[in-house]
Every structure is written in C-alpha cells, then in structure tokens.
C-alpha cells in the first residue's frame, strides 16, 4: 500500500484595508506591484500589493464604483460607476488622462487585448474610447441595459451581453449593424475563451449559453438552481467553470465538446458563488461565495479544495496575482485583503 501526500495550499492573510462599502473591483497590475480597488462607497484607489498602503486615491465615482481594470499592458487604468462617467489614468504617474460622459451607470468595462481601446457598457449604450479618452465608437439603443462586455481575442470586435443574446460590434466599422448571437433570455455575464473559439454567457434563467465564434453553433447548459453571474474559462480554453448556488461545475470542451458529458462538480459553497477566477496557468481556480467562504481548487482531477478560508463577510470580488502566488479579495463589507498562497 502506498500513500501519496497531496499538495495543499496554505492561505495566509498579509494585509487588509477598507474602502467602506461593497467592493466591486479588485485588479492586480501585470507586474504584480499595484492593485486597483473600488467600492460602492464611491472610492477607487491604487494600493501597494505588498502592504495594502494607498499609493494614490483616484477620483472615484459618486454613489459607487461599478467597474474598473488595468489595461493588459499595464500602462493605463480605467474606472466607471454610478455617476455615468468613465475615468482614465496613466499608470506611470496615475495622472488622469480623461473623463468621459456615459449614457447611464458605467456597469461594465473591458480593455481590448492590445490595450489600445476600452469598451464600457452604460445603460443601453456601448462606448469605445482610446486611453486618452478619444471616442472611437458609440452604439446606443441596444435592446436592453448592457450587463457585461468582452473583446474578441483579435481585438477587432466587442461583445455586449443583454436581453435576447449577444451583440458584437466592430469599432473600426461603427456604422455596421451589430452581429447578433441570439438567445431568448436575459444574459448577465460573458467570457471569451482565451483561444477565441467559444464565448460563454451566464443567463438570468439559471442556464449558461455558449456559442462557437463565429459559426453561430451554440449549446446550452441548463438546470442550475439560480441565475448564473460568474463563469470562467481556464487559460487552455479546455475547461469552463460555472458558479452557481452551492457548487461550481467544470465542463470539458476537449474532443467532441461537453454535449452529453457530465461536468465535474466542486461542492462546498453554502450560498451563491459571487466570485470565480482561474490563475495564470490554470492549475488553480478560486471561488468565493456570499457567506464568506473562499476555496482554492485544483480541478478537474481534485474535487476537494486545496485551500480554504472563511471571511467574516461575503466575497464580492477576487483576482489572482500574475504568478499565482497571491489573491486580492474584496468583501461585501468593504474590506480589501491580500492572501498569500503557499503550496505545501
């Protein structure tokens, strides 16, 4: 008989700061030294990833920050919020470069992969601007309020999740009508597979809808207990993780794809999954729930967590450092904290 010692992940809290209210944004710059954090209090700050100290308070957004991200090349940072504004800053000195008026709450934003453009969804409008605020395109009167935006991997198209399906638009051809990937229902989240072959959207009616780009071929995972707000592709684009109530399911898209297959189920959450993210190499998945449970997994082979921690407030946002050695977690009560991860 042989025994194998299985790797465990030790999570230790390194620092904790407060931004006063529900954390809506945590994003670590690629180099790993700065964290962007924002909350519904309206505060947005750049924090030192090692200490949590404030490097620079940003202008924030009256009534609440709703979205924000570093540009993929780390040269710019964008935030948007309740005040119907998109604010852009130069990363080098955190000087503001632009403040763009939007057509509603700045609910969602995404940088193009080449960091040349940022798309923001506000009300029924998607606006695309350059890092200096120059407007490139604006599509108004989409069928409903935009819940999420994402870019195709070639950076040519921006996709918006709304009622009735995804709408894809090309900033280089702003007058061309949006391409419609139809689905009868309200879409809440969107994630494009890193290899660009698939796009997945979580739906209000407790399902996930997936399209093959750009053939239009689609499939549906239904029967979840509640609406799907969080889903994530692993870096290899083979696995899609879907957060639900009480568990996370992992679907395998290799070979013939997931149709007819049974997903791997990761049990342990006690309420709805409120944050979900793969690390840089796909070896770990983090999931958090509204009860404050945070689990680190090594799916799909292991279905028990490799690490876990219980926070005194619901998990509201989570992101990995570029090397997978730490997590920045935002909570419902307004804490931003750093967790170091040590494999033992």
């Amino acid at each position: 008989m042989s025994t194998t010692t299985r790797t465990q992940d030790l999570l230790d809290q390194r620092w904790e700061v407060t931004l006063d209210d529900f954390i809506t944004v945590t994003d670590i710059i690629g180099s790993g030294d700065h964290v962007l954090a924002g909350s519904l209090s309206g505060r947005a700050e750049i924090l030192d990833a090692k200490t949590g100290e404030t490097i620079a308070p940003l202008d924030g957004h009256a009534m609440g920050v709703l979205s924000g991200a570093w540009s993929p090349d780390g040269t710019s940072v964008a935030t948007a919020g309740h005040d119907a504004r998109l604010r852009l800053y130069r990363a080098a000195d955190l000087a503001p470069t632009a403040s763009v008026a939007l057509d509603g709450w700045g609910t969602t934003l995404a940088w193009s992969p080449d960091a040349a453009l940022v798309a923001v969804g506000a009300g029924r409008t998607v606006t695309v601007v350059e890092p200096d605020g120059t407007e490139v395109a604006r599509w108004s009167d989409l069928p409903s309020t935009i819940t999420a935006v994402a870019w195709s991997i070639d950076g040519m198209s921006v996709g918006a999740a709304c009622y009735g399906g995804l709408r894809w638009m090309r900033p280089s051809q702003p007058d061309r009508p949006p391409k419609h990937l139809a689905w009868k229902g309200s879409l809440l989240s969107i994630d494009v597979a890193p290899d660009g072959r698939w796009v997945a959207a979580g739906c209000q009616d407790a399902s996930t809808h997936i399209w093959r780009l750009w053939s239009g071929e689609d499939l549906q995972m239904a029967g979840y207990p509640a609406k799907i707000e969080h889903l994530a592709w692993d870096p290899s684009s083979r696995y899609l993780a879907i957060g639900s109530v009480g568990d996370v399911t992992i679907w395998d898209f290799s070979g013939k794809g997931p149709q007819g297959s049974t997903p791997t189920t990761l049990d342990g959450h006690t309420r709805h999954v409120s944050a979900l993210a793969y690390n840089h190499d796909g070896s770990r998945l983090v999931s958090g729930d509204a009860d404050g449970n945070l689990f680190v997994w090594a799916p799909p082979k292991r279905t028990s967590p490799t690490g876990q921690i219980h926070l005194d407030s619901g998990v509201a946002a989570v992101s990995w450092s570029a090397d997978g050695s730490s997590l920045i977690v935002g909570t419902e009560h307004g804490s931003v904290l750093a967790l170091g991860i040590t494999r033992t």
């Binding site: 006063d20 519904l40 709450w105 309020t145 229902g185 009616d205 407790a206 109530v245 419902e332």
Partner: protein, 329 residues
Amino acid sequence: MTTETDRVPVTVLTGFLGSGKTTLLNYILTEQHGKKIAVIENEFGEIGIDDALVVDAEEEIFEMNNGCICCTVRGDLIRILGNLMRRRDKFDHILVETTGLADPAPVAQTFFVDDEIRSQLRLDAIVTLVDAKHITAHLDEVKPDGVENESIEQVAFADRIVMNKTDLVTDQEADDVEQRLRAINAMATVHRTAYGKVDLDAILNVGAFDLDRVLEMDPQFLEESEHQHDQSVTSVGIEIQGSLDGTKLNEWLGTLLAEQGIDIFRMKGILSLDGEDERFVFQGVHMLFDGQPHTPWGPDEIRTNRLVFIGRNLDREALTASFASCLVN
C-alpha cells in the same frame, strides 16, 4: 435564513398619468421622517427630497424561459434593486413607481422569480392610484383586440386602491366609482383621498403578499359585489367545507393555471388537505405561486377551504364545481 423583518419592503405604486402619483410620492417622502427611502421611478416626475435616493429606470420587460408561458419580469428592477441591496447603507423602504401604461404583472413576478431579490426584499403591496373623476372613463375605454386596458389591470392587481381627487366629485359619484372598483377587485381596500394625502399606514408595510395575511381573507364578502357589472375582469370567491385530495388538487391547479394562468391575475387560498393537521396557505400572481403549511386546524374546527381569484373571464360556477371535485368523499 432571512426573516420577514430582515427583508426590506417594496411598495409598487401604479396608476394612470394624472392620478396623482408624483404628489403621493412627494407626500410619502416628506411625511416619513427618519426613514431612509429609495424611489425607483419610470416616469420623470418632480421628486427631489434630500434623504431619498431617486433612480430613474427604463422599463425592461424580460420573458423568462422557465416553462411558464406568461412569466415576464422587470429586468431593470432586478438590476437596480440588486445594486441598492449591496450598499452598506440599507434602505428602510423602497418605492417602485410604474408608468401609467405599465402592466403590474412583470413587476410583481420579479419578486417571485429572482432569488437574490427574494432573499433580501419582500413585495409589500401593490398600491394603485385612481383619479375619482376620470377612472370610470379609463375603465370603460374599449381597446382594440389584443390590447390590454391597463387601468383595469392596475385595479385588478391592487392590494390597496387610493381613490384620489375625491374633492372633484360628489359623494354619490365616489360611491359609484368605489362600487365599480370593487366589482373588479373585491380583495383590495379602497381609501378615499384628496391631494394624495392618504394615511400612510394604509399603504406602507401592509404585508399584502405575506402568507400570514392570507388567513385574514374572507371570500364571503365578495358575493355582495359580484354580478353588478357585465365586465370581463372580476373577483371570484369560493368557500367550501371539507378536505381535499392532494393529488386531485395538484392536477386541478396545474390544469387551471395551464389553461387560465394568463387570465388569473391574483389568487389567494387557505386549503384543508386530507390527512394534514395544518392548513395550507398560498397566494400567487398568474402562474407563479408561494405556498406553505401554516397553523394547525383546531380539533373541533370546521375545516373550510377559502379561495379568491381575480382575473379575466372567470366562470364562478365552473371554478367552484371543478374545485369541489377535488374534495375527498
């Protein structure tokens, strides 16, 4: 688990343009000192009160793919209410103002369908404002085929009807209007007012959707108001003694909702199930309903089933007969 007291009450305010919704909203906001109120409005009114958060929403009606053919929800409300509930500063009460042309069903159904909303908020009551002078003309308006008369729907869905502008009509005219309203909706209470000044206890924290409140209903009072007008939207009350066969009851309700769910706006019931010690209470909107066992029947209590339906083209005799067929012999 959240308890009733943890969940923030939401009052839905409906009524035609000109019925005085903005006046009533302003009155509520100025009278309710010390309460933190959020208002979600669909019509640009002139509300501006320091302590209240006012959010302008665009009506977004989403169909749900949940097998329920008439299930629509208000996507804008799911989004805005979800966002409000995340804030540390919780609101004591939320008011949702709908447009004069809004169908109340998607608003009500939103509170049944979305788990996040359901866990944190409770639909307190649908309050419909009517203009005493003009409501009869709105109710009588003949719409083209397939177009709903929104004023009838708003009256039919209401838990509380505020008959406003009574200063513009005689007492006799007000009585006639009230009788007309009660013929459509015999479950709602009617409050007469001028200048939107209604006793706020009558319209806020009513608990109209709480299952506890179902026990208070008395279908007998419906009979007095029935058959007074030849109109398609009416209230039907059923009261029958005895105990029900659970299987037959399920089949009956399933068939009824499949065939007439679109036409049944509101329903409430207290049921005696054969072999069960506790009364079963339920209430619903169209095909969606909430139900649970409630307090036990007394040892010597006469078990009486009570049901109330408000809807279109309801056949009282057919409903009563088919329901009676679910009784155990």
